[in-house]
Structure formats: C-alpha cells, structure tokens
Symmetry: C2
Subunit: 232 residues, 2 copies
C-alpha cells in the first residue's frame, strides 16, 4: 500500500508547546500562592479550561481568559486588578516565546523529502502561523492546515481538499485523541509520536487497531512508512 | 471579462457583527462609569485594541482580553475582580449571540447561484465557523477561507489554492482596508458594500482605481458582475 500523503501535527510533535503552558501555569500558581498550593490551583485551572473549550476552543488567548477566570473564582472576586494584569502579561509572553524544534525533526523531514507532507494543527490561527513561520519548516509542506478542532469531519475536509484517499493517508502526532482516533475512524493510518508532556485533554489509551502504530520518536517515521509500503 | 469566482466577506457584509461589538463596548463603559464617560472609555479601549492587534489578531477573545487590560489601565490596577468577571461575561455573550443576516443577503446569493463563491473572513477560527454554520449559507460557497489577516499574501494563497486568476476574481465586502485594497493590489476587482457601522481600523478612503466599484448594497452585486462581463 503506497502512502500518498503524510499529515504531521505541529505542537509537541515538531516543536515544544506544552512545556510553555506548564511554565505559565507555574507562574500563575505563584501569583495566587495565598489561595492554594500549585497542584490545587492547576486543577482548578484545568477545570475552567475544560468548561471553556466549547466556547474558546484551543490556543493561548482562550487559555489566558481561563487563567483570569480561575483567579476570580479562586479568590471569590477579590483578586486585585494588578494581579490580573500580571496574568495578561503571562499570556502575552506565551504569544512571543521563541520556537524550539524537537530533536530529530529536521532530519526526519529531510528523509521524507519528495513525499507530500501536510501540516495539520489546531489553535489560534495567528499564533500557529507565527510558529510555522518561525520554524523555518513551511517550505517542507505542501500545505499548512489550521483547523478549529481535529475532528473526523475536519480531517475529511482536508483530505478532500487535497484529493487524498484516506486509506493512503498517514497522520503522525503526539495526541491519541486529536491525531490518531479521528484518522483511524476515517479509514486512514495513524502513528503516535509520544511526547513526555502531553496535555491531559489530549491523552487516551492506545487504540487496538491494525492501522495504528506507536513510534519511539519522529526519527522512526520514515522507516515506518517504508515498511508499510514494502508490505504491499 | 468573465468573472471566474466571487469572494465575499462575512462580518458586516453577510451578517451583523460590529453592532455586537458596539453593544458590548457600551456595556463595558457602563461597568467603568466611575472612571470616565463612555466616549473616553471607548477611546482608551480602541487604543489598547490597536496596540494588541499584532499579538492577538482579530476576534472576540482578543477583544475581551483588551477590555480586561483597559479596565486595569483605567483604574491603575484598582478594578475589582468582580468587575473583571463581568467583562469576561460580556465576551462570553458575544461568542454566543444569535446570527442576524443582513437585508438582501439570501436573495443576492440566490441570484449568484451557479457562480463560484468563496467566503473569505478573518478572526477567531472557532467563532467564524460557528457563525458560518448558524448562517445556513455554508452550502452556497465552494469554500470557506478563514485567514489570520486579509493581506495581499493571504488573498494570493486563497486564489492559488482554488486556481483562480486574480484578474478574473472579484471580492466584495464592507472594508476598504481588508476587502478592497489588498485585492486591487493583486490585480483583482473589488466592490465595496458599505455598512453603516464599520470598525475604524477597517476604514479608508475609496481608492481611485478602475477596478474598484462602490455599491449601494449587496443587492447591487449580481448586476455589477453582469455589467462587467457584458463589457467583455
């Protein structure tokens, strides 16, 4: 079976992302240290984020708004305006953090040269475009697709737009929920590239599915594709 | 000259948008009535929005963050957390307001049936997708393109992706800055459909350009296209 196109996730697959959220969370907990220990504060923040997902979607602006809301809820509205200002600054810093490519990424993309590669990511349009530009990798991809959420329908639209048959498509990323399950549902193949920090919302058990592959790192991706194609 | 495809802006071209921002602004000024009259407060908010555009981009989440920041600046950090909570609620309401199509829109799109129509809008991905779905108009469009900003480069990418020659493309919308100038720059045609409320940042003088057309309303669009094509 020839693989016609390879989809690649971006955050925590090509470059660090969750690490910056964790750093920001710990700064946030520090600002509210009088109102709970860091773990309690993180749990409250995660609850608020989860409640807000359907309204704010993914990305740093929604995360910043969720931090502000958590600070208000944790303090029963007594949080000083100056602390809210510091929370806005934390969000601002995230929007301008430098980009750190993950180990092995340029080499793996180099080995995939000549293949149709599509970057498929979700979150703030503007922030994702900034990161793609800063990565210097844009030229490696036939297309950059930024979607509101990685649902089966969103993947189906991307595949239709680029005229790719699902059974000849392989998606690689660090999230079972976003990169693996929806693609398997469409009849495609999916390769999990684990990242030590993966947001809870994105985690799920490995599926028991013949089209699912678990890799050690992105360096294993070119070899996986060759083995799939060699099997015919 | 045949028009191969027509681009349509969404906010304040197909449906009301600025009206909801103005209503929210007046609610915001009401919350801060002790710190200035509504005009002063709006001016401060617009300044903050403008400063934040390069970081937050367009959309309701960035606007909400700018309201929070303005409240902090206006009160020298003394704004109570409870008022910040009310500001978050204002933003939340905007994200769920019902959709109001503008007069004449379904009729005009009906008259354009059979033509390639592409909706081209900017702002929050998730919020724009919600509005497109709520409008019931998605089926009228060959494609929905949500871009971070309406630059000449962004239009060029859309035209390339859909294989449309710029000189056979006509863009229609209410913003000289976003819908008209970048398309003229690419060699396309552009039709201004004025809306009584247009955000200051989007306004500019009518260009003196042979490919520019000013319409009275969207109802004039089908006739304009016929006249352009009849001229050969």
């Amino acid at each position: 079976m020839m693989i016609e196109a390879v989809g690649l996730d971006a955050d925590d697959t090509l470059w660090e992302n969750e690490r910056f959220f964790r750093l920001t969370e710990s700064g946030f907990a520090g600002l509210l240290a009088d109102h709970g220990d860091p773990d309690q504060i993180s749990r409250r923040l995660h609850d608020v984020e989860r409640r807000n997902l359907s309204r704010y979607g993914f990305g740093i602006k929604g995360f910043t708004l969720s931090m502000v809301q958590t600070a208000i809820e944790l303090t029963d509205g007594r949080v000083p305006g100056s602390v809210i200002g510091q929370i806005l600054d934390l969000g601002y810093e995230m929007l301008s953090h430098p980009l750190h490519l993950l180990d092995g990424v340029p080499e793996a993309l180099g080995m995939l040269e000549g293949r149709r590669l599509i970057l498929i990511t979700k979150g703030d349009l503007m922030d994702q475009e900034r990161k793609v530009a800063a990565s210097g990798l844009a030229g490696r991809f036939e297309a950059i697709e930024i979607v509101a959420d990685k649902t089966p329908a969103a993947y189906a639209r991307v595949l239709t737009r680029h005229d790719i048959a699902p059974e000849r498509f392989l998606m690689a990323g660090n999230s079972v929920k976003s990169d693996i399950l929806p693609v398997l549902e469409l009849g495609g193949r999916a390769a999990l590239i684990p990242h030590e920090l993966t947001w809870q919302v994105e985690r799920d058990d490995d599926p028991d599915h013949p089209q699912f592959h678990r890799l050690g790192s992105i360096s294993d991706l070119p070899g996986l594709i060759e083995r799939i194609e060699a099997r015919g």
